[in-house]
Symmetry: C2
């Protein structure tokens, strides 16, 4: 394993430091390190076929008609107006829908407005869930166990939460960064057992990549839990619809919570393009095509992850998301593997050394398109065999 360019390495490490617990974005890397050739951005948890699909509609409906000019020039509709589209799609009362400028805005809004006191966060996790809490909150970590492959043990978790008596709990399903999936049955068991927890934040941002059987039916529990008065379901659109640059997300929550948030803020927090996307999201023609690329991507990701699992000196953790947690077993640090992949192969993966709750050397690898996935597998074979 040879580091090709120490100068580049030094610059990369500096950028990584500046980005805190998140990876420097590809835009930052491209502008600050133009000499670096990035062939595959495998940090990026997004369905590339969904991006292609969105771009097809974007080209046909906004670019070739010049509608894009209006989308950029004029004020978009307000939060309550856009929520109607999403409500129609989900068949849920629009007063229960809160539209966000990406899911991170929604995480922030919930944690800042409704969560005071103890909040149970399962680790490893997506860091905003503990970074965004206010000074009035105390994060209590629930450690997912390495011997369970970081999968949540529902009964043990329920006991822990009942004993801890928190004001809020956070469940990401499938979980980030390990992709661990909680079945519908287990999740409904948890929600039923924890009716006394005032705030249950359920993040389904990766649910479009999960499945319970080969029908690949979307396993979201939105319909089952939307009437519960203590549950918030958070949904990023960036990953499953491949449009991270647009910043779209929404949450389903009790009406009084939506009303509280809209009472003194969040008026014009969607861009014109976000509004266009949300209108697409309720259209049958788009959704029919989306369903095809969702299943195609799940299938290809399954093949990719299975191939990675054959490679020696690494352990591939079970996942039902569009990424995989990989433990490095050959004694090399995750940082050195990350840098080597980037500088020698042009593959950008997520070094998980800053993820609390992981024991060992871990990287996270996103499934990309078929060619890119094959290139990742070839490069890993080159590196580890």
């Amino acid at each position: 394993m040879q580091i090709v360019d120490l100068d580049l390495l030094e610059k990369f490490n500096r950028l990584k430091g500046a980005a805190g617990t998140h990876s420097p974005s590809i835009a930052t890397l491209r502008s600050e390190l133009p000499e670096l050739e990035i062939k595959v951005d495998a940090c990026f948890l997004s369905n590339p076929y969904a991006t292609e699909l969105f771009l097809k509609y974007f080209n046909e409906e906004l670019l070739s008609t010049n509608e894009i000019n209006k989308v950029l020039e004029f004020y978009p509709s307000q939060n309550k107006e856009i929520s109607k589209s999403v409500a129609k799609h989900l068949d849920i009362d629009p007063d229960q829908i809160f539209i966000g400028n990406g899911a991170t805005e929604i995480i922030q809004a919930i944690l800042h407005n409704f969560v005071k006191g103890k909040v149970v966060v399962n680790i490893p996790t997506f860091s905003p869930y503990y970074e965004f809490v206010t000074d009035d909150s105390e994060v209590v970590y629930y450690s997912l166990k390495k011997e369970d492959n970081y999968r949540l043990n529902s009964k043990h978790y329920v006991e822990f939460v009942k004993k801890t008596k928190p004001q809020a709990i956070v469940i990401i399903n499938p979980n980030n960064p390990d992709g661990g999936y909680i079945s519908n049955a287990d999740l409904l068991f948890i929600l039923n057992e924890l009716k006394d927890v005032p705030n249950i934040i359920l993040d389904e941002s990766f649910i479009h990549f999960a499945f319970e059987d080969s029908s690949m039916h979307l396993p979201s529990v939105v319909r089952e839990v939307s009437n519960l008065q203590n549950v918030y379901i958070i949904k990023s659109m960036s990953k499953d619809f491949g449009i991270a640059g647009i910043r779209c997300g929404y949450a389903i929550m009790p009406k009084d919570k939506v009303a509280h948030l809209l009472k003194n803020g969040f008026l014009w927090n969607s861009s014109g393009l976000a509004e266009y996307f949300f209108r697409l999201y309720t259209r049958e023609d788009f959704l029919k095509e989306y369903e095809i690329v969702r299943k195609k991507y799940i299938t290809e990701s399954l093949f990719f992850i299975t191939e990675l699992g054959q490679i020696p000196k690494i352990k591939v953790y079970p996942t039902k998301a569009n990424f995989v947690l990989v433990e490095i077993l050959n004694g090399v640090s995750s940082q050195d593997i990350t840098v080597s992949l980037l500088l020698n192969y042009g593959i950008y993966v997520r070094n998980c050394s800053d993820k609390i709750g992981l024991q060992g050397e871990f990287i996270r690898i996103a499934s990309r398109n078929k060619d890119e996935n094959e290139y990742i597998v070839r490069s890993f074979k080159d590196l580890f065999i």
Copy 2:
């Protein structure tokens, strides 16, 4: 004055009710009332020549290169990264810059995080300044006087604030909805007298349309006050740069305030297009062209407002913004004038009947492009002469 279509009138009134204190957006009107032909959106406070300029760059640099695909697909840079562009343009420490998803997000962030207790708001005003305050705040209204043409009397205002001892004050310059301008000298006098007010929110969202003399030099006080520890300068990009659909704004504030906001939120609150715009905002080629369209628009607006001022039965209030407050003096309500302009002439103006602090029947009219402004003048002559 004839109402052409009662059915349309009823539908319009319903939409207006649903949008609260803001006008229904043009997008909402277009989608909910497709039978209505809107010829001029004179609600919309935006430089149309700046939109054209932005679209020229957007076409050349994002569309014809296909860079747009990356802008939509990938995560934009984080707040701190984007603030560097703005800091470079303003020649201010990047740690003093907070990037917002439109100015309304920044108003919300400041009011929710730093303002508790009394806040003095001058009325008439932009409603989020009193709507977005939290339950810990008490809004104290300072009434701009009709006999002063709603212009701020600096000495009287300073006395009022000193007596009131608020925790925060809000000054919009030029003010919305009347366009009243506070000169640099008066503003620096106010800031100097009110050093003991913990939070001074200075909204310069319309400053690019203001001028002190025929050189039309930008009269922003950013450079003079950026070192003050009690001042926040808020800047929308929607109006002066004609890109309301992108949602871009920023604020200049003391470093510890920016650090507080970024400590637990506002991580990825800019879209890819917002990031592209902020990069443009620091480029000399773009800014040179922008300066030309800024001055062209100011000049045309001056002619437009002067023409309107000649029309009988209305009073045109003095303004240094890109809009004008107009009082209806012929006994007809502002609501009837608004509806008549919309349904008979296709001109959408802002009915100010919901604006607190105005005494009489008022509408607000935006300056648009030359042809549209001429059409507005012709229609007004038709309506009032």
